[in-house]
């Protein structure tokens, strides 16, 4: 079977990935910790923990709550800042055969543009615009849930960024297609979705929310049907590649997203449960292709037929 290994590389707006599996931002750090448990060379790309212009400490703990089939998190963008990333993390990640996607979040439009300028000069493969983090009071959330917001930020960042631009969408909106089309119109090379769904969990004994931040973002298997529907809608609406995520745990889950139209997929929460999840998902996609004698993963993208 080794000679029959299907062709796994995919093209995300000019960026070629060795396979369609990407570690989702915020769930994989900068790859360091997971490198002890899994072979980073076998992962198509790593979208690193969201970077901000200056270092950030994030929210108070508890920052996580388990919910049925999912988790709520309110990390609040703790990160060492874009410059420390460049100095300390890029050299480490470059030792591996995996693409680097810099996920960026800002308080202001200027923050985003400045990070785009800085990162354009660095050895990374793409930038993912986090305009949809539910866990910070001001900033990125507000750009992501209106077409006006997404238009403005995509247009401005595009001017400053000389790398493929992935715009990551929030699912907390009435019409996701509209938001995706706005991002595409302003020059996004790809759309990734979904970020987390805004939620809450309560400790009935303390009569307070479990998260110190009160609210958080829901991810994990629970959100899969919502994510899948949105990925389908967006990939029907836009022409640029779509990166799908939300609850992917197995190769079969990934195949669902690819059939629905995703050119690549991201694995998030599943990494916490199983540090080798990304590699297992990749293997699972290969198994599916082998089962049906498909020799190029691109042949399953968007082939879902409606009933």
């Amino acid at each position: 079977m080794t000679e029959n290994k299907p062709k796994m590389d995919v093209n995300i707006g000019g960026l070629i990935l060795s396979n369609p599996v990407i570690a989702a931002s915020g769930t994989f750090g900068f790859g360091r910790e997971y490198s002890k448990y899994t072979d980073l060379n076998k992962i198509g790309a790593i979208s690193v923990k969201a970077l901000t212009l200056e270092p950030r400490q994030g929210n108070k703990p508890p920052r996580i709550a388990e919910t049925p089939g999912g988790i709520l998190n309110s990390v609040g963008l703790q990160n060492p800042g874009v410059r420390a990333f460049i100095k300390d993390e890029i050299p480490f990640l470059r030792k591996f055969d995996t693409a680097i996607i810099a996920n960026i979040a800002g308080n202001t439009l200027e923050d985003y543009c400045e990070m785009a300028e800085i990162l354009s000069r660095e050895d990374i493969d793409a930038v993912e615009l986090n305009v949809s983090c539910p866990n910070v009071k001001k900033g990125c959330m507000s750009f992501g849930n209106t077409t006006a917001g997404i238009t403005e930020i995509t247009k401005e960042v595009r001017k400053h960024l000389r790398k493929p631009l992935i715009v990551k969408l929030t699912p907390n909106v009435t019409d996701i297609k509209e938001i995706a089309l706005a991002a595409e119109a302003e020059g996004a090379d790809a759309i990734s979705l979904i970020n987390t769904l805004y939620g809450m969990a309560i400790d009935i004994h303390r009569k307070r929310p479990i998260l110190a931040n009160n609210f958080g973002g829901l991810s994990g298997p629970a959100v899969k049907p919502i994510a899948l529907r949105m990925v389908y809608e967006v990939s029907k609406a836009v022409k640029v590649p779509v990166i799908g995520m939300g609850g992917i745990t197995t190769g079969d889950d990934a195949v669902e997203f690819m059939l629905a139209g995703a050119t690549a997929i991201m694995v998030g929460t599943a990494n916490f449960v199983n540090p080798t999840a990304c590699v297992e998902v990749e293997k699972g996609i290969e198994n599916y292709l082998s089962m049906y004698n498909i020799n190029d993963v691109n042949d399953i993208i968007g082939i879902l037929e409606l009933n």
């Binding site: 002890k36 703990p61 508890p62 920052r63 988790i71 990390v75």
Partner: protein, 261 residues
Amino acid sequence: MSKVISEKVEKVEQLAKSIYRMTIKSAYISENAKPGQFVNVKCSEGINALLRRPISICKVDKDRGTFDIVFQIKGIGTEYLAQKTATSEVDLIAPLGNTFNIDAKHEKIAVVGGGIGIFPLLYLLRELKDVEKRAYLGFRNKDFAVLLDEFEANCNVLNISTDDGSMGYKGLVTDILENDLKSCNFDIIYTCGPMPMIKRVVEIAHKNNIKCQVSMEQRMGCGIGACLVCACKTKKEESWEYSHVCKDGPVFWSDEVIFDD
């Protein structure tokens, strides 16, 4: 170096109404674990209890290649774990976290534990040789007081308190500690348990100029330092930062931690 590893359960024993001891066969973990470390254990099949649960290592038997965890049933994860039997396997990431500071220069040490915080301290006591060891353990009531014989066997003086006086001193275990400190001294105090207890121990240690290590608890995601959810406020130069219990801890020096969150 920690590993993702599936190991055989050797024995599950009920120690009290809601407290269980599980002995797990694992050459790897028994060889590599150190006091203070924990395992991150999958507590269900499928998505029932999605996240792994962190549980401290309570004992290691290198000769037999086993280790023990002791846990109290709190919710769905620990409830499931308690149903495991001698034929089950457990899926672990272990050993995780840093370790208690053990120093040959320490001649007299104390451990102060409350509730489920006593288990990592017992492992520490077992590994500390040729030292004078005192243990101060606080429980809600006598029904939660487990493993006392093993504490007895592994320290020179054992002090017990309960909130309701159903066993030992009625009141805070830190009261006993404070009283003892009038007549004796320690080179280091190790503590683990409920936050109010930890804070009080740290206060007492600082007042008495005794070094102190605290083992912290926080809700975890990955358990390996990647997701950054298990934040713990610590000093950094003139200011502070969020360290992470799973990686920078669970053990911190008492003067590193800022207890205002």
